[in-house]
Amino acid sequence: MNHLANIIQKELKELLTPGAIMSVVVMVVLFSILGGLIGGEVDKAQTLPSIGVVGSGHGDLTIEDGGVDWNLYETLESIYGSSIPSDAEVGDYLIKLDDFDGDFDRLKDMMSQNDLACALIVPDDFALCISEGRPATLTQFYIYEPEGMFGSISSTVVTSIASMLNTSLSKELLMGPTEGNPLFYSNPIAFGGDNDCTMINGEVHNGILPSDIAGEISSQTMIIPIVIMILITMIGSLVISSIGSEKENKTLETLLTLPIKRTTIVTGKIIAAAVVGIIYGVAYMIGMGMYMGSLTGTMGSGVNLEDLGLSLDAFDYLLVMVSLFLSISCALGLCMILGGFAKNYKSAQTMTMPLSILAMIPMFIIMFSGWYGAGPFIQGIVFAIPFSHPMMAMEALMYGDVGLVLSGIAYMMVFAVATIAITVKLYNSDILITGLNQNRTYQKLTGKK
């Protein structure tokens, strides 16, 4: 037993290094921040969306002889009144807009002025239809805003609001005299289907809701952050372990005294790892493509992104590849630096920790709130981590956000050059041979002697 305790003690001492404990702490902090972030997203998605109510009478309906006295706008007010937070006012959520004259661009401008993403269009003949016993059509109009996983929920909420309006009017009508088609009395308001439309990049598409698009895009891009995280971590540990084992076997000392430039050694290692990385990457992409192919076959929302102008063209794919390549280069540069501090193979394993954490932060953020759903502070963090860019490149390009991808590429170029410069500097110094403990600045920083 004593012997066992002895061995356990030794192992624990080796495993629970300050570095390892640090990374656990970072993980906990990371998850709690993400929890808050995702919680915020869920709250936002569950609150009722602000909508503009478009139409001359805003759904005023009085049928003298039938005794019907119903108003769409007031019904909406009562639906909202019971669901919004106590300190909010219904007027913040429901905004009356002018008539709709068929000009979606004008409607869009009106909505933008009021910061609205959704409008319910009450047709001019609403009252007429109902009085004649024909279903009146209520149209949902959206301006599509990409907002991560939860951003699309508002459109499903609006659909259910439309359904509540229908039920309310049905009840009202059933209290009066009923004649003619009984179906009309259970469904006086027609909603959903091809009437509803969404404006995407300035073009109006019928029969498509933002939730459909977001669903399709996220089903196509959801797995990318995970793949890239795995890829970065894997290539990273490849490089770090390679340096770690060179140190352990003292082959590094030999290599460094051969008549070759340090830059050659550094670049050689980086290129070799990048080749392996690209092989992994391609294999993953193919695997992922097949996985997504079989998934969308069964689960797809039926939205064709190509028709919506949201699919990628050859130039977009080129940008994605460039982004991925640069991101891998940044990872390798970082790993060469981290590997420089690894004493042996084992400590090299711990050195991959910071890298995987760096890759995990954007992965979680992008998966759960998306770049577009995150606040400016979080966006800053995500942008600063070079591995984020290929994770979100495809989604951004589907939304036509080329600027984000290009600025990411520019940033990664600077980052990669900087890391490689630092690496070469490191390889010209003692640290590679002596380790960090003997470095004077390090000693000063840690107060060790």
Binding site: N249, K250, T251, E253, T254, L256, T257, L258, P259, I260, K261, S429, D430, I433, T434, N437, Q438, N439, R440, Y442, Q443, K449
Partner: protein
């Protein structure tokens, strides 16, 4: 004879502790120079500075006129460093390892000749085609010495080459060193084996806690301390 290696007041600090306190010495071309000293005396540190692996804190080192600080590339082209307890890439066979190294020095037929020379020096028989991680300590050392000697360096730097080897292996490695010195290669080596240093080295430097406290041929040192063996010289020098 020209000066192959000149150390002038060389110092090395690791952080705040100074490991080498101003060593000066000169090694002539074709000479075998031995560094002796207790564990932690500063031998490896000195050899690593000569090999351009460590930056010198102050002083200067020049190898055949190339300064290690300002012309480290020039130095690396003419030296061969064999680290203490060195290893080779485990996935390679002995032959593949020698070929890997030879590629940094030569091309085509010249490279082939270099590898053949290495294989002959290592003298591992058919085991040259086994993976390096199946080698015993002695086999590994033979491979590494072959690697170090094969490119015909002008200065060979060897840190405890024979430590832990059996009598025959140690003898054969000493023969190799003697052979290259005869061909004009300068050798600087460290060792804890006084018998070996006495037999092999033309001149010896004794390092004690980072100071060079004795320098001369084995015979000069023995005369200086009035003793019969280098071992006694060492003990007297360190204790007194």
């Amino acid at each position: 004879m020209t000066d192959a290696l000149v150390l002038k007041d060389v110092r090395k600090s690791y952080g705040n502790t100074e490991a080498v306190h101003g060593i000066s010495l000169t090694v002539k071309e074709g000479e075998i120079f031995g560094l002796i000293g207790h564990n932690g005396a500063g031998k490896t540190t000195t050899l690593r500075m000569i090999s351009t692996l460590l930056r010198i804190t102050s002083g200067s080192i020049s190898v055949y006129g190339h300064d290690v600080e300002t012309d480290s590339k020039g130095v690396r082209e003419i030296i061969s460093y064999l680290p203490e307890d060195a290893g080779a890439y485990k996935d390679l066979t002995g032959r593949a390892y020698l070929d890997f190294i030879a590629r940094f020095f030569a091309d085509g037929d010249e490279r082939k000749r270099m590898v053949e020379k290495g294989i002959a020096l290592a003298d591992l028989g058919e085991r040259i085609d086994s993976k390096v991680d199946t080698y015993s300590k002695g086999m590994m050392r033979r491979l590494l010495i072959a690697r170090a000697v094969m490119p015909s360096p002008k200065l060979a730097i060897m840190d405890e080459v024979t430590s832990g080897l059996d009598v025959v292996n140690a003898y054969e490695i000493r023969e190799i060193i003697r052979g290259i010195a005869r061909d004009g290669v300068t050798v600087i080596m460290s060792s804890h084996n006084m018998f070996e240093v006495d037999m092999l080295c033309d001149r010896v430097g004794i390092i004690n806690h980072g100071d060079l406290i004795g320098l001369g041929t084995p015979d000069e040192l023995k005369r200086e301390y009035g003793v019969d063996t280098l071992e006694e010289v060492f003990v007297k020098a360190v204790k007194g």
